[in-house]
Symmetry: C2
Subunit: 415 residues, 2 copies
Amino acid sequence: MPQVDPRRTIAELQELRALTADDDGAWRVAWTDTWLQSRRWLREKLDALGVETHDDAAGNLWSTLRGESDRELLIGGHMDSVPGGGWLDGSLNTLAGLESLRRIAEQYDGRPPVTVRLVDWADEEGARFGRSLLGSSAAGGTLVPDEERDRTDKDGVRLEDALRRCGVELDHAPQANAELERAAAYLELHIEQGPVLLDLDLPLGVVLGTFGVERHALAFRGQAAHSGSTPMDRRRDAFLAAARMSPEIYAITQRHGGVSTIGSCVTRPGIVTSVVAECDITLDQRHLGAEGLATLLREAREASERFAAEGDVEVAWSELWRIEPFTFHGELIELADEAIRETVGVSHRLPSGPLHDAAEMARAGVPTVMLFVQSLHGISHNKIEDTKLEHIEASVIALDRLAEKAMAWVGRQGG
Amino acid sequence: MPQVDPRRTIAELQELRALTADDDGAWRVAWTDTWLQSRRWLREKLDALGVETHDDAAGNLWSTLRGESDRELLIGGHMDSVPGGGWLDGSLNTLAGLESLRRIAEQYDGRPPVTVRLVDWADEEGARFGRSLLGSSAAGGTLVPDEERDRTDKDGVRLEDALRRCGVELDHAPQANAELERAAAYLELHIEQGPVLLDLDLPLGVVLGTFGVERHALAFRGQAAHSGSTPMDRRRDAFLAAARMSPEIYAITQRHGGVSTIGSCVTRPGIVTSVVAECDITLDQRHLGAEGLATLLREAREASERFAAEGDVEVAWSELWRIEPFTFHGELIELADEAIRETVGVSHRLPSGPLHDAAEMARAGVPTVMLFVQSLHGISHNKIEDTKLEHIEASVIALDRLAEKAMAWVGRQGG
């Protein structure tokens, strides 16, 4: 029986790193020359495999191994990285998928029972224009070109122009949705980017879904006053109200699950001799359940208003971004569990805090599941991102086992 | 009996405003052309009075009305303002002192029982170079030129060069100390710059002394981590530790008196998707008692260490600035109380949060007292700074009454 060769995947990841990274990390930022270079490199490997490959209207790269059934198993990843990123985030997904595609092509003599497609999504990270999941949301049908057109990068280049330079017309990007017409399942391997598997000393886990996110800016407004001449009971201290609220935000999260983060605090006038008049914080709340997420948000809002009132300051909320939770497919979760147990003996189920292209697939109604492989340091989006080589190898094998099970599952679902 | 004419003081304040302020406030920033202009304007008025006037080695302007005794009663103020400052902060002091000097010169036919001197201090505000009380500290003997030489303004101009342009050699500034040789008492009127008298609906108060100040930067150091993938119990959140500590800082101040202010909070990386790795805050603590101030500092330090340890983060303190409390002279405080009661019927004693040139005089061992006149809005360092005209008039009269009492007191102290 043909097998995947996980050491080839590691060799290819190293080859990619030599091509597109330096001492400061990987530079495969979407819509840049280095990203296009990584895509050409990938395409050479796909062409060598003899599969049909094309870019869709949103810049996603699709390779199709036609099967007996035209129902499709999709395996996805993304070659793009953040600036100074790690060697695994996104590219491991694509290259492990490529390795599985090779095994399937060989085992079934180029004609598997169902159609198998590898997709390399365009601009998962959103690192340059602040719009993540761009390619997969176009395919999933949620991208609205008019909402994205005027984004600019830090040099003032418009998103629309950067895409055009890579052969993508933003207005046509939603046509990528046609690619999902026969999609019957979607699989994605990713490094965890967190410490959960590391803490449990486990190589692999099944992802239950992606957290829903509520992201808000909270503006506390008090009154500037001289730090020396203003008695304590005469102050309307915007920072103090925000500070008093913050531990309560975390206590609410302890009660209801999920995660909450106050990532930024800005004070004005922000000088040593003045009571803070304006304190702006950002709050990022995530939960795997829609109801849990709504509870986190509601109780945080109540807490902010209570502490603002106690401190005689005002508080106003403004939404920065939100997305609902997407839970993955129950039967595919079971299959993923099996694949992991067969590979490393023990599995674990966990939610994903970060979003992934898989969320757009689940949102589009494609039965979806993800595998996580342990991250060393629990850190990604950084040149020190890493995973033990034996775990990378296990992840390539587990993804391939899952692909085989999923092909059979897709076949059984067929009308 | 000759009397002060407080309406002349108000007219002169208005004249000064027309000369040195615009719609955005006063621009008499020390060592600038507008400040020099205000000084020339003042000098014309002093010359008209016929007193001997000269600049000392630190740029302070001294006018001397020689008396029967060479023991000196000093009355002080400062013409310099912050950028966009109010019409009273500093200039009321000087012009009310001028008015009292006129009354004394007239009443005693140019030869009062003790010598009376008006001093207009140079650079009380420190608005341009960040060094307040420059002129009075030179006179008081605490200015160290080498510590100030390399200060620069926001345009990169060096303090030493800005002073030289105004005829002051920084290295010679400590020679101003000679001006205090015969100083027997120092008086200063100032707007309160706080809300205490306003809240009590009182026009005038006696200042007990200036708060001692402990000013520190606190650096909390945790670990950046992804807001989505990092479980709550795995975080080392620098902002959370600072936030938890902050209400405790205020509780400590409630217990021991004085005031404490967290004026600035800066977070890094300071993005919505990351746990805060670094949180820097500033802490400004003030107390009228040296022991009380030491207690505030010690308990704040303990609290910071306790909350840092609970949050598994580090905290480091670095001193920004400190000054001990200066209490004013008991007998002069009594005289000031009398002068206020004789003028408006009721007096009140309060500490000064902000520093004043009077603190440098008290530090130098000159028996010192200050009068505060009510600030509307409790606000200064702003174009909206204001005081009711009837209160300004009362303050000019009360300062003059105090000057008369202080002359007699200085006469009694004479050996």
